[in-house]
Amino acid sequence: MTASIPVIRVERANKAFALPEGGRFDAVRDVSLDILPGEIFGLVGRSGAGKSTLLRLMNLLEKPDSGSISVAGQELTALGARELREARRRIGMIYQHFNLLANATVFENVAFPLRIHGAMNAPRLKARVTECLELVGLLDKAGSYPARLSGGQKQRVAIARALASYPTVLLCDEPTSALDPDTTRSVLDTLRDINARLGVTIVIVSHELQALGSLCQRAAVVEEGRIAELFDLRDHSEPRKTSLGRELVYHAAEAHVGAPPGELHA
């Protein structure tokens, strides 16, 4: 049963935002969710459904109004500021707009999480950055500035940066929404690759069902801040309730035609 101990556990989380014109918007309503170690988990939903907020709860970029969030057995919602910073080392995150430092080289961007925690001496740090850049196939760009890179390359630098401090989970917030179809595929391949090779648990938010269908093992459909349904993409034993769920299953089947799940990029 060790495999079923969740690596991320969201328990009865609520998050509301005050609207500028008064009133409030309930982004996440009483959501409980378990993410299992080593899986790639998708969160889908229409824009404004609360899927990004749910993802951002998982590293406490958004603090829940109530409920608790645990990652790797540690309850983040119970931690002080210092412990939370420490815990965040093990939670990587990538974003739609990459969020790289424009005035730092690719090398320095990847070194950033290592430097802020001061955990490594110079040779070890260099070795780790090199290793991560190799993993995403961008070692030759180490001395370049992000402005010189394509969108797909920037996202791969962001992935290398997220991986640098040996995370157990990687949160992906619309990682391919700013990319064209070709680079989307290459970034997805990179994600699939690091999941397979490093066993990093991936939670990915996207509205691109095709991307999610080819990538995820399980997914949740988020509607109005709640999880409308949660299912295994390979499970066809019962029909899906939501239209997004049906579409997702369709794309998953498409992606896996001719290749049994899991062996797609072996």
């Binding site: 970029l61 939370l84 910073r85 815990a87 995150m93 790289l100 402005a147």
Partner: protein, 220 residues
């Protein structure tokens, strides 16, 4: 005109030195005190990752108040304070006190503005990686805003080159003061032309230098 130039040359040289002294002290104060103040204003401003919002409001109000003073009035109002700090209220060193007092809030606002241009997502990414607030300031905000900050300092230097002329009223000296005393009060037009020419050259040089450095620092 050349003859005239030779006569006033020693005085010009002295005035030039005084101007540099006032600018140097004023800009140093701006960077050392106004810079951090600008960071604090940014961190405690609305919509930013600030905890003590009320600190931001109080400091913002203080900055606005000092900035509302016309410089000449600020200078006169500060005379008692200047006497305490500089020991006298006359001369370039004394004039540096009100200059600094005006430069600090001015630069603080410029810094705050520049930091607002750093994309929110980049700050958030650093937060998500577990950076402390200080690390976010030094390793993200200042790094990403550095070329804008150099341009802000350039703007400040040029503004204060002309502010320093006003310092002549309290015997501050400097090139601007020379232009007023000789050129304006004594109708020695050629001296005024020379001083204005020097001021133009200085402004061009500062702008050119600042722009160049800013471009080299900007990798965006």
């Amino acid at each position: 005109m050349l003859e005239k130039f030779l006569i006033v040359a020693p005085e010009l040289w002295r005035a030039f030195g005084e101007t540099l002294l006032m600018l140097g002290i004023g800009l140093s104060a701006a960077v050392l005190l106004g810079g951090p103040l600008g960071v604090v204003l940014f961190l405690n401003g609305s919509g930013e990752p600030g905890r003590g919002r009320s600190i931001g409001k109080v400091l913002g109000w203080l900055v606005n108040t000092v900035r509302s003073f016309p410089f000449i009035i600020l200078m006169v109002a500060l005379v008692p304070f200047t006497r305490i700090v500089a020991g006298t209220s006359i001369g370039p060193l004394a004039a540096s006190v009100p200059l600094s007092c005006a430069a600090i809030p001015y630069f603080a606002r410029l810094v705050e503005q520049q930091l607002h241009d750093v994309p929110r997502g980049v700050i958030e990414a650093a937060e998500a990686m577990g950076a402390t607030r200080l690390q976010i300031v030094t390793r993200v905000l200042l790094l990403e805003a550095r070329s804008g900050l150099v341009l802000a300092l350039t703007v400040l230097a040029i503004s204060f080159l002309s502010y320093s002329a006003v310092a002549g009223v309290v015997g501050g000296g400097g090139i601007g003061d020379l232009a007023i005393r000789y050129g304006y009060y004594r109708f020695e037009t050629d001296v005024m032309v020379i001083t204005v020419a020097i001021l133009i050259a200085m402004v061009q040089l500062i702008q050119f230098g600042g722009g160049r450095i800013a471009r080299r620092l900007d990798k965006r």
